[in-house]
C-alpha cells in the first residue's frame, strides 16, 4: 500500500527559541508549555501556554453535529448482527443518509451564522467550517453511492446534481427574468442541465427558445426528440443489459447521424448539445467552467459514452478524467486524491487520506464504523478492519472527553470499542472534574452501570475527603460508606464522637439514624450508630432498653476504651432514676467496667506531681459513679429479692 508520509504539524509557541528549552505538562485535555532551561541556569520569560488539540470540539456550531450523530451511531450499533445482509442494506443506506442530513443541517446553520455575522474574521472561520463540512458530505455521499447503492450511474448523477446546485440558482434567475430565452445565462443553464443528465428540464428550457424562433422549429423538434429518446440504464429494473445496450446503440447512432448530416449546423448551441450527448470529449472539456470539477466531467462522460460502466472499471475512467481535466495544474489536491481513491474502491485509502487532510476525527470515525458494520472493510481485504474502526473511534471519543459536557457522548463510543474501550473510559472518566455533588453522582452512575468498581471507589473517596476537609461530616460519612472505605469511615465516626463530646449534640442525625447495615463497615461506625440509638431510646424514655444497650457497648467491646468514661457518665442519670433500671448483675458489670477503666488509667499515668484540675474532675466523676453504682446495687438487690420472695 502506498505510504503516506506527511511532515508533522508545527504549532508555534510565542516563546524564544534560541538556546532555550520548552518544558511541558500533560493535562486531561491539553498540554501546558513553558520556556525553560534544563542544563544551565539562566533567565527565561515566565509565560505558560495552554495548547489544545481538537479545535473543532470546542466549536459551539458543531455541537449539533456531535450530538445528533451520536444518536445515529448508537442506533447503528443496535442493528443485529444475525440479520441477513439483504435486510440490513436498506437500514445502512438510511443510516448513511441520516448522517449526511445531519452534516447538511449543521452546514446550513453555519452558513446562516457566517452570513449574519459582522466580524469578518469570524465569518471566514465559519466559512472554513462550512467548506470542510461540504467536502465531508461530498466524500461521504460518494462512498455511499459506490458501496451501498445499486444503480451506480443514476446515483452518481444524483451525487453530482446535489453538489452542483448552483445550476438551479442560475435557472431560477433565468426563469424569473422577463424573457428567459434571451437571458445571457440561458444557454449555460441548458447546457448544464444536459451535462447533469437532466434532460427533461433541458427540454422544457428549449421549448422557450423554440417558440422564439418559429423558423427553426424543425431543428428544435429534432433535438427534443433526441433528448426524450435517450435511454437510461437501471440495473434494478426489468430491462436486461443487452436490451439496454441495443437501445442505447441505436439512439447513439441516431445522434451521431444528426451530427454527421449537420442537422444543427445553423445553431451553434444546439450543435454543442448534440456533441455533448454523443459523448464528444473535446466539447465536454470546452465546458470546464460549467463542469467545474473533474468528477462532474467523469460522470457526464460516463453518462454519454459508457452508460453501462461496471464498478470495477470506474477507477480507469476516474484516473483518465482527472488527468484530462486537471492538465493545467500539476498536483492534484487532497480532495481530488480522496475522491479518486473512492472511485478506485480503495476505502482504506479514503479513510487514510481523510485522516490526514481533515482536522477532525468525526468523519473518519463514523464513516469507518458504518463501513465496518456493512462488512465492507473486510471485503476490501483489510484484515485489521475492526482494529481500524476501534482506533478511530477511540481517538474521536478521547477528543470528546476533553470537552466539559460532550464527554458524556464519548461514553457510548467507548462502550462500543470491545478491545480498549473500557480501559480508555476508566482512564478518562477518573479525570472528569467533580465540581459539584451532582456531577460526581453523574460520573458515579456511569461507572456503577459498568461495574467499574475501582473508579467508583476512587470517586467516593475523593468526595469524602473533600467533604471532610470542608467539615461537612455527614456528606463525608455517606461518601465513605459508598466507597466502602472502612478506615475513612472510622476516622469520620471518630470526628462525630469528638464533636459530640465537645458540643453534646450530634449533627447529621438523619444520616446516622438511617445507617442500617452500612453501620457494619467499621467498628467505630457501628459504635457511632449504636451510641446514637442509645440516645434515641433514652430520649423516648425506654430506659431499660437504653441501659441494656449502653452496657453491651462496653461489654461487647464495641465502644473504644477512650469513650468508656463518657458512656459511664451517660449511665449516671439512669442510675439516679427513681425506679431501678440496671439489675444487680448489670450493675456489677458496670462496676467491673469502671474498675477496668480506672486501673488502666492509673497504670498508664503513675502518680506524678500534684493532680491537675482535669484529673481532679475525673477523680470526682469516678467517685460520683462509684457512689451511684453502689446505691443502685443496693436498690437492685432489694428489689430483686422482693420480687423473688
Amino acid at each position: 500500500m502506498e505510504e503516506v508520509d506527511v511532515e508533522p504539524a508545527v504549532t508555534n509557541i510565542p516563546a524564544a527559541s534560541d538556546g532555550k528549552h520548552l518544558g511541558f505538562a500533560w493535562g486531561p485535555g491539553d498540554i501546558l508549555v513553558y520556556e525553560t532551561l534544563y542544563k544551565a541556569s539562566g533567565s527565561g520569560c515566565s509565560f505558560i501556554h495552554e495548547v489544545r488539540k481538537d479545535e473543532d470540539i470546542y466549536s459551539p456550531n458543531l455541537r449539533k453535529l456531535f450530538n445528533e450523530s451520536h444518536h445515529i451511531f448508537v442506533g447503528l450499533q443496535t442493528i443485529r448482527e444475525d440479520l441477513p445482509s439483504k435486510n440490513k442494506k436498506p437500514q445502512f443506506v438510511s443510516i448513511s443518509k441520516n448522517y449526511r442530513s445531519v452534516i447538511r443541517a449543521c452546514m446550513e446553520e453555519l452558513q446562516q451564522v457566517a452570513v449574519s455575522t459582522k466580524d469578518a474574521e469570524v465569518a471566514t472561520q465559519y466559512g472554513n467550517q462550512v467548506s470542510i463540512l461540504l467536502a465531508i458530505e461530498l466524500i461521504w455521499n460518494l462512498c455511499e453511492v459506490l458501496t451501498l447503492s445499486g444503480s451506480l450511474l443514476l446515483h452518481l448523477l444524483d451525487w453530482v446534481r446535489l453538489h452542483k446546485a448552483d445550476v438551479d440558482e442560475k435557472a431560477a434567475e433565468v426563469l424569473q427574468s422577463e424573457s428567459p430565452a434571451e437571458h445571457h445565462d440561458y444557454w449555460d443553464v441548458v447546457v448544464s442541465y444536459v451535462l447533469q443528465g437532466r434532460l427533461e428540464e433541458a427540454r422544457q428550457m428549449l421549448v422557450k427558445q423554440a417558440t422564439l424562433h418559429p423558423a427553426a422549429r424543425k431543428m428544435y423538434k429534432l433535438m427534443d426528440t433526441l433528448l426524450s429518446k435517450m435511454p437510461f440504464y437501471n440495473p434494478g429494473g426489468t430491462q436486461t443489459l443487452t436490451e439496454f445496450d441495443v437501445k442505447w446503440r441505436h439512439w447513439h447512432g441516431e445522434v451521431n447521424r444528426c451530427l454527421q448530416d449537420n442537422s444543427f449546423a445553423s445553431n451553434q448551441h444546439l450543435e454543442i448539445i448534440c456533441k455533448i450527448i454523443v459523448g464528444d470529449e473535446d466539447t465536454l472539456l470546452e465546458h470546464k467552467e460549467l463542469l467545474s470539477t473533474w468528477y462532474h466531467f467523469l460522470v457526464t462522460r460516463l453518462l454519454f459514452s459508457h452508460p453501462t460502466v461496471k464498478p470495477t472499471e470506474l477507477h480507469y475512467y476516474a484516473q483518465s478524467c482527472m488527468t484530462m481535466f486537471l492538465d493545467a495544474r500539476s498536483v492534484p489536491e487532497p480532495l481530488d486524491n480522496i475522491l479518486l481513491a473512492a472511485f478506485e474502491f480503495d476505502i482504506h485509502q479514503v479513510i487514510k487520506e481523510c485522516s490526514i487532510a481533515l482536522n477532525n476525527w468525526w468523519f473518519v470515525a463514523h464513516l469507518t464504523d458504518l463501513l465496518d458494520h456493512c462488512k465492507l472493510l473486510q471485503s476490501h481485504n483489510l484484515h485489521f478492519g475492526s482494529n481500524l474502526r476501534e482506533f478511530l473511534l477511540l481517538e474521536y471519543a478521547s477528543g470528546l472527553f476533553t470537552h466539559h459536557s460532550l464527554w458524556q457522548l464519548a461514553v457510548d463510543y467507548f462502550d462500543n470499542c470491545p478491545e480498549f474501550g473500557r480501559v480508555y473510559l476508566g482512564l478518562q472518566i477518573e479525570h472528569i472534574p467533580l465540581d459539584t455533588e451532582r456531577k460526581a453522582l453523574k460520573v458515579l452512575r456511569i461507572c456503577e452501570q459498568r461495574q467499574m468498581s475501582e473508579q467508583v471507589r476512587s470517586i467516593c473517596k475523593i468526595m469524602a475527603m473533600r467533604a471532610l476537609r470542608n467539615n461537612r461530616l455527614g456528606s463525608a460519612l455517606s461518601w465513605s460508606i459508598r466507597a466502602k472505605d472502612a478506615a475513612f469511615a472510622t476516622l469520620i465516626s471518630e470526628r462525630f464522637l469528638q464533636d459530640y463530646c465537645t458540643r453534646g449534640t450530634f449533627s447529621d442525625l438523619d444520616l446516622i439514624d438511617n445507617l442500617g447495615p452500612a453501620m457494619l463497615l467499621s467498628d467505630r461506625l457501628t459504635f457511632l450508630g449504636k451510641y446514637r440509638e442509645f440516645h434515641k431510646l433514652y430520649g423516648e424514655k425506654r430506659f431499660s432498653e437504653a441501659a441494656k444497650l449502653l452496657l453491651s457497648l462496653m461489654t461487647a467491646k464495641i465502644a473504644p476504651r477512650s469513650f468508656w468514661m463518657t458512656l459511664l457518665t451517660d449511665a449516671l442519670p439512669l442510675l439516679e432514676q427513681k425506679e431501678v433500671i440496671f439489675s444487680a448483675d448489670q450493675t456489677h458489670e458496670l462496676m467491673f467496667c469502671l474498675e477496668e477503666l480506672t486501673s488502666s488509667l492509673n497504670h498508664s499515668a503513675p502518680g506524678t506531681d500534684k493532680p491537675t484540675q482535669d484529673e481532679d474532675i475525673e477523680q470526682t466523676k469516678v467517685e460520683l459513679l462509684r457512689l451511684a453504682l453502689a446505691r443502685n446495687l443496693a436498690m437492685a438487690i432489694i428489689k430483686e429479692g422482693t420480687i423473688e420472695a
Binding site: V4, P8, A9, V10, T11, N12, I13, P14, A15, A16, D18, K20, H21, L22, A25, W26, G27, G29, I31, V33, Y34, E35, T36, L37, Y38, S41, C45, S46, F47, I48, H49, E50, V51, R52, K53, Q111, G127, S131, A135, L162, A165, D166, T293, L335, S355, I356, L358, N359, F384, L392, E395, S398, L427, E430, H431, I432, D435, S458, M465, R469
Partner: protein, 383 residues
C-alpha cells in the same frame, strides 16, 4: 494544535516544572526563585494564581500533586537537599472570597545529602507514599501511615543506585499480577558505566525493593523517564529521555513457581528517535498513553504517536517562534491572556494546501486553508 491562552506566571526566575492536578483544574509551578505557585482554573477557563509562597532555600526542581483521594497535597524537591510536603488548608471564608488559598508545610524530608532531583507520589493503590531521588544516588520511599496527619512520614526504603539519580517513575499498573515497580534514571555522564536506567520491584517476601533489571543499552546520561499507563496489558511501556527518545517494552517473564527473586523482564526496544538532535530532557505520556511528548535541545516539544499497527511517528511539533512575549519579569501581576497567535501563522503556512472545493452548493466560494492544522496526522503510514 493551537495555543488557547497564555498565562503570565510571574516567576522571578526560570520555571523548572509545571504540574497539573489530577482533574486538570489546578496547576502548580516551581522556579529557581525558590517559590511554588498554585493556579486555579475558573469556570470560563481563565487561570488565577491563588497561592504563591517560598518553599525552599534553593532552586525548586519539581513539584507534583498527590491523588485527590488524599486531599490537596503537593510535594516539591530542591537544590537545597530537601523535599517538602504541602497541604492546602481550608481557610477563612474571606480568603476564599479573595480567591486565595493557604498552604502549610507538613514536613521537610532532610535525608538527602545532595540536591533532590525528583519527587513522585507512588500510585494511589499503594497508599500515600512519596519517592525522592537525589544526586548522591539514593532513592528514598516515604510513607504517611495516617493520611489525616501529613506531618508524619516514615522512611520506609532507602535504595542505593550507585549512580547519581536524575529521575524516577512509578509503574502505574494496579493489576494484582504486578508488584509495585519503579524505574530510576541516572544523569551520570560517564559512558563507561553502562545501564543508566534501573528497574526495581517490590518483593513481598523480603518486603524490600530489589533490582529487577538494568537497561544496559542505555549508556548516556538519562534526564527523564516515564512509565505509560498500563491499559490492562501484561507488559509495561517505558519512555526514556537520553541523547534521544527511546520507548521500551518490558515483558515480565513467566516465573518459576519456587523462585522468590524479582520478576525477570524481557526488554525490547520499540522505538528510538534522534529528531531532537541532541539531549532530550523530558518525556511524558498523556492519559491514555496514545501520545508521548518529549522536549529536547532543539527547543521543541515533539509529540509521538503509534498508529493501530503500532508504528511510532512524530505527529506534531511545538516550537518557540522566537518572539519572547515579555522581555523581563516583574510585568503586571495579574495574569494576562494572549490568545492564539499561532493559529494565524499555521494557516498562512498552509495556504498552498487548499483543498480546492470548487463545487460549493450553498453558493460560497471558500478557499480551503483549514487543513493540516492539527495533528490528526499520520495514523497511517508504512505498512
Amino acid at each position: 494544535m493551537f495555543v488557547a491562552r497564555s498565562i503570565a506566571a510571574d516567576h522571578k526566575d526560570l520555571i523548572h516544572d509545571v504540574s497539573y492536578d489530577f482533574h486538570g483544574r489546578r496547576m502548580a509551578t516551581c522556579s529557581s526563585d525558590q517559590s511554588v505557585k498554585v493556579w486555579d482554573k475558573s469556570e470560563n477557563g481563565e487561570w488565577h494564581c491563588t497561592a504563591s509562597w517560598k518553599t525552599h532555600s534553593g532552586s525548586v526542581w519539581r513539584v507534583t500533586w498527590a491523588h485527590p483521594e488524599f486531599g490537596q497535597v503537593l510535594a516539591s524537591c530542591s537544590f537545597d537537599r530537601t523535599a517538602a510536603v504541602w497541604e492546602e488548608i481550608v481557610g477563612e471564608s474571606n480568603d476564599k472570597q479573595r480567591g486565595l488559598s493557604h498552604w502549610i508545610k507538613r514536613t521537610t524530608l532532610v535525608d538527602s545529602r545532595t540536591s533532590v532531583t525528583d519527587v513522585k507520589f507512588a500510585p494511589k493503590h499503594m497508599g500515600l507514599m512519596l519517592t525522592t531521588c537525589s544526586a548522591d544516588g539514593v532513592v528514598r520511599i516515604y510513607e504517611a501511615p495516617d493520611v489525616m496527619n501529613l506531618s508524619q512520614w516514615s522512611l520506609q526504603h532507602e535504595i542505593s543506585c550507585k549512580l547519581s539519580c536524575s529521575c524516577i517513575s512509578w509503574n502505574p499498573s494496579s493489576s494484582r499480577a504486578h508488584q509495585p515497580m519503579f524505574a530510576v534514571g541516572s544523569d551520570d555522564s560517564n559512558v563507561t558505566y553502562s545501564g543508566k536506567v534501573q528497574i526495581y520491584e517490590y518483593n513481598e517476601n523480603t518486603r524490600k525493593y530489589a533490582k529487577a533489571e538494568t537497561l544496559m543499552t542505555v549508556t548516556d546520561a538519562v534526564h527523564d523517564i516515564a512509565f505509560a499507563p498500563n491499559l490492562g496489558r501484561s507488559f509495561h511501556v517505558l519512555a526514556i529521555a537520553t541523547k534521544d527518545v527511546r520507548i521500551f517494552k518490558l515483558v515480565p517473564m513467566r516465573k518459576e513457581s519456587a523462585s522468590t527473586g524479582p520478576t525477570k523482564l524481557e526488554v525490547q526496544i520499540v522505538a528510538q528517535f534522534d529528531n531532537h538532535n541532541s539531549q532530550v530532557w523530558r518525556v511524558s505520556w498523556n492519559i491514555t498513553s496514545t501520545l508521548l511528548a518529549s522536549s529536547g535541545d532543539d527547543g521543541c516539544v515533539r509529540l509521538w504517536k503509534a498508529n493501530y499497527m503500532d508504528n511510532w511517528k512524530c505527529t506534531g511539533i511545538l516550537k518557540g517562534d522566537g518572539s519572547p512575549l515579555t522581555g523581563s519579569s516583574g510585568q503586571p501581576t495579574a495574569m494576562s491572556t494572549v490568545v492564539g497567535s499561532s493559529v494565524q501563522t499555521s494557516q498562512n503556512a498552509l495556504n498552498g494546501m487548499s483543498l480546492g472545493f470548487r463545487a460549493c452548493g450553498v453558493g460560497c466560494a471558500v478557499v480551503f486553508v483549514y487543513f493540516f492544522k492539527t495533528f490528526f496526522l499520520l495514523i497511517f503510514f508504512s505498512f
